[in-house]
Every structure is written in structure tokens, then in C-alpha cells.
């Protein structure tokens, strides 16, 4: 039953997605691409690009998109609700316990441990996307434009804080000219 699968997968992502946004990418990718084969790695990279250009969180964008691809509009509603459900349930718990005791020892140690791991999760997401499908002409020849686009985008964002939307637009124009 595909709706139940969508519900299960996106509920799990919503529940375990600590660190938000980018840290959730490898989690989503693992479930959607590797475990359930709902999308190829290429399609997943396209959704990430679209997410950068449309409003809203990457996780909601992916849930809506995957849900639609797998089971139409109903599917996208199911996946998006499933993603938000753990947040709603957790809120009830937090309202009961956490707000009374913000310096809670257990929560503090949990977060202290999870924080460094988030960097690793994001790193893995980037590494997993570096494959032949996303870097079409990678190699040591003269035509390794993919690597150049990636390197230039990295430098532009990391050191010069250029708006990601501008970078995506420029990369798209480069793609149209080069390929």
C-alpha cells in the first residue's frame, strides 16, 4: 500500500530530522532514493535545485514532490502531513515537560551529542550527490565543466556569500551554453 509507505517514510524523516534543512537531506535521500527507489539520484538533485528556488523548507518540498510522483495529489498530501505529524506530537510532549524545565539535563546532553554528527550528515549528503549522473563530464580531461561549476559555486557561496538563487541561475545558463 503506497500511502502507508509514504506515511511511514515521511513520518520517520520528520521524527529523526534533527538539525533541520540540510541535515535532513541525507536522511531523505537514503529513504527515497536508496531504500524505496521512488526517485533516481538525478531527480533528487533536481528537486534540491527546485527547492532552492521556490519558497519553503527542502523537506516539505521533497515530501510534496515525492508524494506527487508516487501517488498523485493524494500522495503529496499524505507525505506532507506525515512529515509534519511528529512535530505536532512532539509539541504536546514539549508543552507538558520541556517548558517547565528548559535547562533539562537530558535534553542538553542529547543535543550536545547530536550537534557534531549533523555536520557529518550534511557532508554525506553532498558526497552522495557527487556521482556520474550529476557530474556528467567529470574527469581529468579538458572538459570537466561539472567540477569547475561545482568549485566556482562553492567559492562564490563560501567566501563571497553570493545568493544561491543567483548561482543556480548562472549554473543553468552555463549548462545551456556548454552542453
Amino acid at each position: 500500500m503506497v500511502y502507508l509507505e509514504l506515511l511511514y517514510v515521511f513520518f520517520k524523516i520528520g521524527l529523526l530530522g534533527f538539525g533541520g534543512g540540510y541535515a535532513m537531506i541525507s536522511l531523505i535521500q537514503f529513504e527515497v532514493v536508496d531504500s524505496f527507489h521512488w526517485l533516481t539520484l538525478q531527480e533528487f538533485a533536481d528537486i534540491l535545485a527546485i527547492s532552492q528556488m521556490t519558497p519553503g523548507p527542502i523537506s516539505i518540498n521533497t515530501a510534496t514532490y515525492v508524494g506527487y510522483e508516487v501517488a498523485g495529489i493524494t500522495g503529496s498530501v499524505v507525505a506532507t502531513i506525515a512529515l509534519c505529524l511528529p512535530s505536532v506530537m512532539l509539541m504536546v510532549l514539549v508543552m507538558l515537560f520541556l517548558f517547565k524545565n528548559k535547562e533539562n539535563q537530558w535534553v542538553q546532553s542529547l543535543l550536545k551529542g547530536l550537534k557534531p554528527v549533523m555536520g557529518g550528515l550534511i557532508l554525506a549528503a553532498a558526497l552522495l550527490l557527487m556521482n556520474k549522473e550529476n557530474f556528467v563530464d567529470a574527469g581529468w580531461g579538458a572538459n570537466n565543466f561539472s567540477v569547475i561549476i561545482c568549485a566556482v559555486s562553492f567559492i562564490a557561496l563560501y567566501f563571497f556569500k553570493i545568493n544561491p538563487m543567483i548561482l543556480i541561475t548562472l549554473a543553468g545558463i552555463c549548462g545551456a551554453i556548454i552542453y
Partner: protein, 182 residues
């Protein structure tokens, strides 16, 4: 008291104009809730955000839920989170129906060939920022590197990594807690 319709429209606007998601929206929420409408004072707002940041799940939805709840209870939480989620839901739904039609167009294909390596860079940047932080902490740098390696190279599920980390952190917390008590 804030009207439910007002709450919905505030978060609808925030949902519609937040690009890149997550933290980018915080400034907008603060501007609307604290500065402009004065529904909440600054300290209350940031106390709330401190809690929300630590929770799993979609950050934008969590923020909407808690701010909505604080202002108007359960119905406030519902209305605010619906408002925050709706724009991205509708936008992606439109794109999904449209994109499937044009994906095989040779122009679109070429454009996306250029975009994909750029997306990798966009994800690499926050990863490196998190790893380097305000200076590399040599004592713990192996933790993210190991986690990244396990997921990327050995194909370990991130779910397992998160659960194991959570358990280890709680055990560590348990032992250090005892020491403090004595």
C-alpha cells in the same frame, strides 16, 4: 489578542517569501510577531526559538506551531502551521505537474546538467561551515567525519547513526550528571 485569520495570513506570507527555508525565515517571523504587531516580547520570542531549534522535524513548521500555540492555543498552532506549509506545498505541486512534461526537453536537460554540480556545492558549504565552525575543534572533528564516512561509503542508514548518537549522548549525560550531583 491575535485573530486566527491574522495569524494565518502572517504565516502564509512568511511561508511564501522564505527562500532557502529554515533560518532565513526567523528574521521575518521576529519582524512580524515582535516588531510590527507586538504580539510577543523579544525575550519570550527568543526563548521559544531556543526550544524549537532543538527539536527534530521541519524548523519552519515547528516555529509556526509554537508561536501559534503561544498566541492562540491549539487552533493558533494549527492555523499558523497550515499557513507556513501551504505556499511551498502549492508551489511544488504546480512544478511537479509541470516539470514532468518538460523534463525531457533538451534545453531543460542541459540547464539541469549545469545546475546539478552547483547544488552539490550549495550543500557542501553548510557542511564545511558546520565542520570548521569558529575554528576546527580537533578533539571532536572525527565525529562528523566518521558519521559522514559511514553514510557515504559504507551506506549505513542515517537513521541508525542518529539513534546510536542519541543513545550514546544520553549515556554520557547520565554519567556526567551523577558526578555533578555528588
Amino acid at each position: 489578542m491575535v485573530g486566527l485569520g491574522k495569524l494565518f495570513s502572517i504565516f502564509l506570507q512568511i511561508g511564501a517569501f522564505t527562500l532557502g527555508g529554515g533560518y532565513a525565515m526567523l528574521a521575518m517571523v521576529e519582524q512580524a510577531i515582535v516588531e510590527k504587531h507586538k504580539f510577543m516580547d523579544k525575550d519570550d520570542f527568543w526563548d521559544l526559538i531556543a526550544v524549537v531549534q532543538t527539536l527534530p522535524g521541519v524548523f519552519a513548521i515547528n516555529t509556526a506551531l509554537y508561536v501559534g500555540y503561544k498566541l492562540r492555543g491549539k487552533s493558533g498552532a494549527l492555523v499558523a502551521s497550515l499557513g507556513a506549509a501551504l505556499p511551498s506545498f502549492v508551489a511544488i505541486l504546480l512544478i511537479a505537474t509541470f516539470f514532468a512534461e518538460i523534463r525531457d526537453n533538451s534545453w531543460v536537460e542541459r540547464i539541469f546538467k549545469g545546475i546539478r554540480p552547483c547544488v552539490v556545492a550549495l550543500i557542501l558549504v553548510p557542511a564545511i561551515r558546520l565542520l570548521v565552525g569558529e575554528g576546527i575543534k580537533w578533539k571532536i572533528i572525527w565525529i562528523p567525519l566518521l558519521a559522514g564516512f559511514l553514510i557515504w561509503y559504507l551506506k549505513v542508514s542515517p537513521v541508525i547513526i542518529i539513534l546510536i548518537t542519541a543513545i550514546l549522548s544520553l549515556i554520557y549525560g547520565f554519567f556526567t550528571y551523577k558526578k555533578i550531583e555528588k
